[in-house]
């Protein structure tokens, strides 16, 4: 499935070892533009660690992560963001003391330097963009509410919105529907389906129905290693996968 325009993200031989324990071991995979890649695997398989390594939160011991031919492993976290990689955390990370509007505003991709932030003006373009994103994430009526007063699901949406406003080429989502009600889940699936249309996405998810809904390809991780890779149907039929994961 080699696309002629090449890969957006190349992960090769990625390894991280914590005091000798290899949480991720010699992992390689490739993500194409506009692909939705889902990573599944049992607890402790190293799924979140893979995202941490790509976005620079954890330093890799070995290997290479190339995003549009740029090596990410030597870059600082904020530089990785500027390169076009966005990351959503597992627990909703929003700024509870700020309003929904201010949360989105901080993520607006302008005024990143100290003096840029001092000079930043809340002009019409910024306001329009925030309004647009707020409608997308179902929070247009909550803009002046403190984020602390949002429900768990709304916080998840807000964080997704904070990433969307930056328009990253690669979006990494760590269990975006965990802890959501059924109604919220449906809305989130709808939201994600719209988001993934024009960018590449890597999603960690446990909900199999949800995975089948959105995945282009699936990686199954087990003990830090790639157990199986391919379409959902292929992965589901893989006896190794059934043994360690789907079977129980």
């Amino acid at each position: 499935m080699t696309a002629p325009q090449g890969y957006l993200l190349k992960v090769e031989g990625l390894t991280v070892s914590f005091d000798g324990f290899k949480a991720v071991n010699d992992l390689s995979f490739y993500v194409e533009p506009n692909e939705c890649r889902v990573i599944i695997g049992p607890n402790g398989a190293g799924k979140t660690t893979v995202l941490d390594l790509i976005c620079g939160r954890t330093k890799a011991t070995d290997g290479s992560v190339k995003f549009r031919e740029k090596e990410l492993l030597t870059m600082r976290e904020d530089q990785i963001v500027h390169a076009g990689v966005g990351r959503k955390f597992q627990t909703p990370s929003v700024y509870e003391d700020l309003t929904v509007f201010e949360n989105l505003e901080i993520s607006y991709p302008k005024g990143y330097s100290v003096f840029g932030a001092l000079a930043f003006r809340r002009d019409a373009v910024v306001q329009e963009r925030i309004q647009e994103i707020a409608e997308m994430i179902f929070l247009e009526d909550m803009l002046s509410e403190k984020a602390a007063f949002l429900s768990h699901g709304q916080k998840q949406w807000l964080e997704i919105g904070m990433l969307l406003i930056q328009d990253p080429e690669l979006l990494m989502l760590d269990e975006p529907v965990a802890g959501m009600s059924v109604a919220e889940r449906v809305k989130t699936a709808e939201l994600l389906n719209r988001i993934i249309a024009d960018r590449s996405v890597i999603v960690i998810e446990h909900d199999m129905g949800f995975v089948e809904d959105i995945a282009t390809r699936v990686n199954v991780l087990h003990q830090g290693k790639m157990l199986s890779e391919g379409s959902m149907a292929h992965v589901k039929a893989d006896p190794k996968v059934i043994e360690v994961y789907l079977g129980h």
Binding site: C55, Y112, L118, M162, Q166
Partner: protein, 381 residues
């Protein structure tokens, strides 16, 4: 509500600024005799530090227990200029080396150390009052924040810096005046700063500078940088992964707090007439945090009132019960942290303001909470 508005002051804040201006420029001078007014001028120099702490600690979650270092550096820069002006060869003719500060002569120094020489210039000294603390803060900031040292560890390290600087000043008696500090300061460009009139003028200069600093602080808080600070305090990682260089922002705000403290220190020297290591060390640095905590670490105006009130209480009580004051101060700090985590400003905006608003509009009071501190930060406190 106020989404599109990013004006520098809300109506309520503007009223707060005006009330403080009336207190400082009208009420205090009318109510106090010259001696007491000078005392309050001294208290207000600590307010500069407290405002810096509101930005660093209240907004940014960076608790520094070493602000005395910057207060002291600013104060010493000013004191060095004044000391050189006071040490003319005529004034010091009884010394074995006339023309150098008296303490150098006592310590067998026979010429002025080269790093003292630039302090003959008033311009250089005034610039140094701000720049020297900023350079120190920058070095500490780069060393700590780039390595992601934060929270309690940062607080302890800043405290160590306060201890180190005190020991250094005391140890290098010949260059710094040692434990006595730099004393017997007389004139500023020929203008006698010891007279009652001079003290009154300096009180007003101090007041004006305080408002300049308050407006700068207000501008920073109202800018996107102010909101990023709050965001960093609550979710540092989210800010980092939204594309910000978190360490750069921390270094900036720490340097700004140091610059404010330096100005306060210089005004202290001018109004009190000396500078000594007792104002640099651990105890004064912690006291400065208490001024900020009592006033309300989320409110720049609260910090000014906190500095005034705690110092006034300190003077009053230590006149009557000198041994008990430190216990009182400790008790006050514990009480504030436990009962009023947002200090006087919090009590005002959470308890009193809603009542007043309720009375005026004839409605039930509705509490409007200030920004609540995050649990992580409470630990650091």
């Amino acid at each position: 509500m106020t989404i599109s508005k990013t004006s520098l002051f809300t109506r309520q804040e503007l009223i707060g600024f005006i009330v403080l201006a009336v207190v400082i420029f009208v009420l205090l001078p009318l109510a106090l005799d010259n001696f007491r007014l000078n005392l309050f001028g001294k208290y207000l120099t600590y307010a500069f530090v407290a405002i810096g702490l509101v930005l660093c600690w209240g907004a940014g979650g960076i608790l520094s227990l070493g602000q005395g270092v910057f207060f002291g550096l600013g104060g010493y820069c000013m004191a060095m200029f004044l000391k050189l002006e006071a040490s003319t060869p005529e004034n010091t003719s009884i010394q074995s080396t006339p023309g150098i500060p008296d303490f150098m002569d006592w310590n067998q120094l026979t010429e002025l150390p080269s790093w003292w020489v630039p302090f003959y210039s008033l311009t250089f000294s005034l610039v140094a009052v701000v720049i020297v603390p900023v350079i120190f803060a920058f070095i500490i900031g780069v060393a700590m924040f780039r390595r992601r040292v934060g929270g309690v560890y940062f607080a302890i390290i800043t405290q160590a810096f306060a201890a180190i600087l005190t020991i250094l000043i005391i140890g290098q008696q010949g260059y710094t005046g040692g434990v006595n500090g730099i004393t017997d300061l007389r004139t500023l460009k020929g203008w006698d700063i010891r007279t009652d009139e001079a003290k009154e003028v300096l009180y007003y200069v101090n007041g004006v500078l305080l408002f300049v600093v308050l407006v700068i602080a207000q501008f920073v808080r109202k800018s996107k940088l102010g909101r990023i600070l709050i965001a960093m305090r609550d979710q540092e990682d989210r800010v980092r992964f939204s594309g910000y260089d978190v360490a750069g922002f921390k270094i900036f705000i720490f340097c700004l707090g140091a610059a404010f403290a330096g100005i306060g220190g210089a005004m202290f020297t001018l109004q009190v007439g000396f500078m000594s290591p007792t104002l640099v060390g651990i105890v004064p640095s912690i006291e400065m945090v208490i001024f900020c905590a009592v006033g309300g670490r989320l409110s720049i105006l609260g910090a000014v009132y906190g500095a005034l009130l705690v110092n006034w209480a300190k003077t009053t009580f230590s006149e009557s019960f000198p041994e008990l004051w430190l216990f009182g101060l400790g008790g006050l700090f514990i009480a504030v942290v436990m009962l009023f985590p947002n200090g006087l400003a919090g009590v005002w905006s959470e308890k009193i303001m809603p009542r007043i608003a309720g009375l005026m509009e004839g409605r039930k009071p509705t509490a409007k909470p200030l920004v609540a501190p995050s649990p992580k930060e409470k630990e650091a406190a």
